[in-house]
């Protein structure tokens, strides 16, 4: 009797081994899941086990390099442009100052009296703007006068925008005429 039972066990084991050898792993998994979770996969889905999709040979080998290259590219660009700006900043600053001094020296303003009130300096009653003596106006008044028609104050202006503006290729006369507008 014992002998008979052990032979039967061996038979079962052989069958199971065969099953695991030839049946699709996916199908076995689905059968287990079906019992455990009351899953509802229809029969045909159990026939499909292997991944039908593939990738080009060696695709995964180089992916890190390609992604890191893409990540580093914008950062390099950013740092290069920041570097150029850092070099140009003092040069542009000096150029702007020289341009301002040049303007003040080379434009003889003859009118000696200017009201301290900026609004009155820019009112239509002033007939000839070119006769102002700007040297008599203090710096903050001058700045206010220049920007009084604009909504934003000087403090709102980004220094980079200011630099970009100053370096936009205008000559002294053009800058002067821009200020006068």
């Amino acid at each position: 009797m014992k002998m008979q039972i052990s032979i039967n066990i061996l038979k079962i084991k052989r069958t199971e081994i065969k099953l695991f050898e030839f049946k699709d792993v996916k199908a076995i998994y689905l059968n287990i899941m079906h019992k455990e979770e009351g899953n509802i996969e229809p029969e045909f889905m159990k026939r499909l086990g292997t991944n039908p999709f593939r990738t080009p040979d060696g695709y995964f080998d180089s992916i890190e390099d390609r992604i890191m290259e893409k990540i580093q590219l914008p950062e390099k660009k950013k740092s290069t442009s920041a570097g150029i700006l850092r070099i140009l900043k003092p040069v542009l600053g000096i150029a702007a100052m020289l341009a301002l001094v040049f303007l003040l020296v080379n434009n003889p303003f003859t009118k000696n009296t200017v009201n301290t009130e900026v609004s009155s300096a820019l009112t239509p009653s002033v007939k000839d703007d070119s006769t102002f003596n700007f040297s008599l106006i203090d710096e903050s008044t001058l700045v206010n006068a220049i920007f009084s028609n604009e909504k934003s104050t000087v403090a709102d202006i980004n220094p980079d925008e200011m630099l970009a503006y100053l370096s936009s290729g205008l000559n002294e006369v053009e800058i002067y005429s821009e200020i006068q507008k």
């Binding site: 889905m45 039908p52 999709f53 995964f60 890190e64």
Partner: protein
């Protein structure tokens, strides 16, 4: 550096950030690739989306919160990138297509890196015409074998809703296959 926590710690240090990110790519590239591939189907599209996903991950490292696992966070970004990509493509192609999911079926048929037999092609076609949400749930459950609880975190949807989506998806896939299999037999 195989542990997620180790990778995250190294990502916080500027001197080890790049190296740690390489490790992160190495660890998750295949899983994310296959997740994306099942959504967009075509290899070339998958490659684009995968690269965008990793770039998004890199740019969003500072916003990663430790409440969710790294794996969940990466899967969520990959899923969102895939859906965004598909929506963009569908919008572009809509003028020439009668059905927006026709794009996916065409994508599958034109993919040179698809080696499936008739049954696998039929299954993929059936999956391709599912609504986006059902398709993603079906792929994650059937192919990636992700647990509902984990899926719930990734897709930010309740387990009950996910089970319902999967149930509907399976029914639709079954109907599609039944109505088309006679042609194959």
């Amino acid at each position: 550096m195989t542990n997620d926590q180790q990778i995250l710690d190294c990502l916080k240090d500027p001197s080890t950030k790049e190296q740690a990110f390489r490790h992160l790519i190495s660890k998750y590239k295949e899983r994310l690739y296959w997740h994306i591939r099942k959504i967009v189907l075509n290899h070339d599209d998958t490659d684009d989306v995968l690269q965008n996903t990793f770039i998004k991950i890199w740019n969003g490292l500072d916003s990663f919160r430790a409440e969710s696992s790294l794996f969940t966070w990466l899967y969520r970004i990959a899923t969102n990138e895939s859906i965004t990509f598909l929506n963009q493509r569908k919008r572009k192609m809509m003028s020439s297509l009668t059905d927006e999911n026709e794009y996916l079926v065409n994508n599958l048929e034109s993919d040179t890196y698809f080696d499936g037999d008739h049954w696998q092609l039929l299954l993929q076609q059936a999956i391709a015409i599912l609504p986006d949400k059902q398709r993603i749930v079906f792929n994650m459950k059937y192919f990636d074998e992700i647990k509902y609880e984990e899926m719930s975190e990734i897709l930010e949807t309740s387990v009950g809703a996910l089970k319902a989506s999967y149930h509907h998806a399976v029914k639709k896939v079954e109907e599609y296959v039944k109505s088309h299999e006679t042609r194959l037999d």
